[in-house]
């Protein structure tokens, strides 16, 4: 268990912005290698790992997707000693000033995100946050050297180190969605000691933050019978609603909505009730905003579902998660997979009684 936390700390310390996932893919593939039977990299860069089931004949397949890409920044202009940047994925510029970053130019450069003093900004109210176009990255080099080492298009990743908050909580960047990669890893570890008849594709997808791309293409390429996206969801925190949002450390979040197959939903609810498994509910009225939306519709479509891990301060470099929720998600996935048999797929279709 301590090992799982160390693994998560390791993968959130790596860069791997959307489209540039190679560094994190490398580490995840080393971790998964002894846990699966086959591994490959999709044409877009997703890591696709197959753990074969014990079933005979034409086996059904379940795909687990957790995205390994990270949000971050990209250089748009090199202006003198400073860099202008834009966002890769949804970055909240309010939390950027003062953040340590790594600029991946010809060399790896440590830097900080800086903002002009607000009395020097036209029309700026004292203390008001400034937009991305007013922020700069300073790596401490003179203009000439900077221009030699960095060009527009170089990526800039968060440099915030993981921080343990007490026993169970962990803060850092890219918890969205490497916590899910950790949960899938935990599931694969549990499955080593279990017998399951279905084939399992564990997929660390790419480019979720820039348009759910890796899930589209791996969903097409692997064409599983059912698909489960594992992602993070907003947990209660400053400014959030008390009613509708999950609690950190209080269990896996199970979604309902048009992105979720009703049969799968019933199946997983029955399972958590039987096992008296800590869980919470969420409603996604249209688009779950996860890999599931792609997995549901690529090729001929398939039954899909979302399991979420509660997370505070989403899309900041200090996202907070609970190790408990991650382990629970891994365990629930393993229980779900173990319970699948030859009849499961037909039963799911019949449960569409609405």
């Amino acid at each position: 268990m301590a090992q799982l936390k160390e693994f998560l700390k390791q993968i959130i310390s790596l860069p791997g912005l959307s489209g540039y996932e190679a560094p994190v893919r490398e580490i995840v593939s080393r971790k998964w290698e002894p846990l699966v039977d086959e591994m490959r990299v999709s044409r877009l860069g997703s890591l696709e790992a197959l753990k074969r089931g014990s079933g005979t004949g034409l086996k059904h397949t379940v795909l687990l997707a957790g995205h390994m890409d990270a949000i971050g920044l990209m250089v748009t202009q090199v202006t003198g000693r400073f860099l202008h940047v834009t966002s890769v994925g949804g970055v909240d510029p309010r939390v950027l000033p003062g953040q340590p970053v790594e600029v991946h130019g010809l060399k790896e450069l440590r830097g900080v995100v800086v903002q002009p003093p607000d009395n020097l900004l036209a029309d700026q109210k004292p203390g008001a946050p400034v937009g991305l176009d007013e922020l700069f990255v300073d790596v401490g080099l003179e203009a000439e050297e900077l221009a030699q080492l960095v060009h527009p298009g170089n990526i800039v990743s968060f440099g915030q180190m993981p921080l343990e908050l007490g026993e169970e909580l962990l803060a850092g960047h890219t918890m969205d969605d490497r916590t899910s990669v950790a949960a899938i890893t935990y599931c694969l570890e549990i499955l080593q000691k279990r017998i399951h008849s279905w084939d399992v594709w564990a997929v660390a997808t790419v480019q979720e933050e820039v348009g759910i791309k890796g899930a589209f293409t791996s969903g097409f390429g692997l064409n599983p019978d059912i698909a489960i996206a594992i992602d993070v969801t907003h947990a209660k925190g400053p400014g959030t609603s008390e009613k509708s949002i999950a609690d950190l450390g209080k269990g896996v979040v199970i979604s309902q909505g048009p992105n979720i197959h009703p049969g799968l939903y019933k199946h997983i609810m029955k399972l958590v009730e039987e096992l008296e498994f800590a869980h919470q509910m969420e409603v996604d009225p249209a688009h779950s905003g996860t890999d599931a939306i792609a997995l549901q519709v690529t090729r001929g479509g398939r039954a899909s579902m979302v399991l979420s891990i509660p997370l505070r301060y989403m899309h900041t470099p200090v996202e907070v998660v609970s190790m408990k929720d991650i382990r629970r998600t891994g365990r629930l996935l393993a229980e779900f997979i173990t319970g699948l048999d030859e009849k499961s797929l037909d039963e799911l279709s019949q449960e569409m009684s609405y």
């Binding site: 959307s18 877009l44 298009g153």
Partner: protein
């Protein structure tokens, strides 16, 4: 090449109505093609070469369609109301002209209560505008609901710089047509695809890529440039070479493909720029997500005043874009 550009940009082809443009391109290049077909969405697909050792199947895309307008309503006095096809900016419409596919010309104006308002009007949308085709009633109006028009501006040759409507993306169709003509040999199976309906959602590229199932996709498109007064958008400038896309809202270019294009440009001594934009997308985004995924990139022609009727490109950039495309597809694709 200027003559080809003039011919292509002056043709009319709003999204979904690319027939005229397609015929022009077909006439221009059919003698250079190994195989030529039109798919069910109207994409013109030209195959050249077969796969030799180390060769790949490469799809190139330049879109034939342009932004335009479609008639939604004609009032009793013969004024024509319209909606946009693709991203039409109301600012560039007022006082402009459109030409319908049947040749009818109309003037676009915004509703005015009095003439002083014309000099003060700040906020208006396409709903506040109409096209005057010179009709006096609904009955004698030469156009009907559903009729389609493109903006009407002639091509201007300013020497180094070229100006026209529909540089987005006829300039790419010209680049690809010229590249096909200049190509001497290739180890790759090449598909030059002149796509439809890019401006309304990358549709032609998405379906043609599905049909072709390429290993690699290369779109050629324009990239908006603000190397102009007050501009602080990115570092791309007119005349500094074709822009190699790194990211836009439809695509993050696979870093291995970006490296390959940079190495090729450097080896050939072709000037290039890096392009990062926080808006917009191209056919490369459509190709990228086809089937199990296609690593894709976009070679951009830097263009001022994109989506206005006066889009400006640098002729040297255009010639260099042709050179770069030819260099890329003449060699085995080396990705590490």
């Amino acid at each position: 090449m200027k003559e080809l550009i003039k011919k292509l940009v002056e043709a009319s082809g709003p999204s979904g109505f690319e027939g005229t443009v397609r015929n022009l391109i077909r006439d221009e290049i059919s003698s250079f093609a190994d195989e030529l077909r039109v798919d069910s969405l109207g994409n013109l697909i030209v195959r050249k070469g077969t796969r030799a050792e180390g060769g790949k199947r490469i799809m190139m895309a330049g879109h034939m369609d342009e932004i335009g307008v479609m008639v939604t309503h004609i009032d009793e006095n013969g004024y024509v109301r319209f909606t946009n096809i693709g991203g039409v900016n109301p600012l560039t419409c007022v006082g402009g002209r459109v030409r319908f596919l049947d040749g009818t010309v109309g003037v676009i104006m915004v509703e005015l209560k009095d003439f002083a308002e014309f000099f003060n009007i700040k906020k208006f949308t396409l709903q506040d505008m109409y096209i005057d085709v010179g009709a006096t009633s609904r009955e004698d109006c030469p156009v009907k609901v559903g009729y389609v028009a493109a903006f009407d501006r002639p091509f201007e040759d300013l020497g180094n710089r070229l100006v026209s409507k529909a540089m987005d993306d006829r300039i790419a169709t010209a680049v690809l047509a010229q590249a096909l003509k200049d190509l001497k040999s290739t180890p790759n199976e090449l598909y030059f695809v002149f796509t439809t309906q890019e401006e309304v959602g990358l549709r032609g590229a998405t379906t043609s890529a599905y049909g072709i199932d390429p290993d690699i996709g290369i779109a050629v498109d324009v990239t908006p440039v603000l190397d102009t007064p007050s501009g602080k958008f990115n570092d791309v400038k007119l005349g500094k070479g074709p822009a190699l896309k790194v990211m836009d809202r439809s695509l993050v270019v696979d870093p291995r493909i970006l490296d390959w294009t940079v190495r090729t440009a450097e080896k050939q001594g072709i000037p290039y720029q890096y392009e990062v934009i926080s808006a917009g997308g191209t056919d490369a985004g459509g190709i990228n997500l086809t089937r199990a995924g296609v690593p894709s990139t976009c070679i951009s022609v830097p263009t001022r005043y994109v989506h206005s009727p006066s889009e400006m490109v640098d002729y040297k950039d255009v010639l260099n874009a042709v050179k770069l495309v030819v260099a890329l597809i003449s060699q085995p694709v080396m990705l590490d």
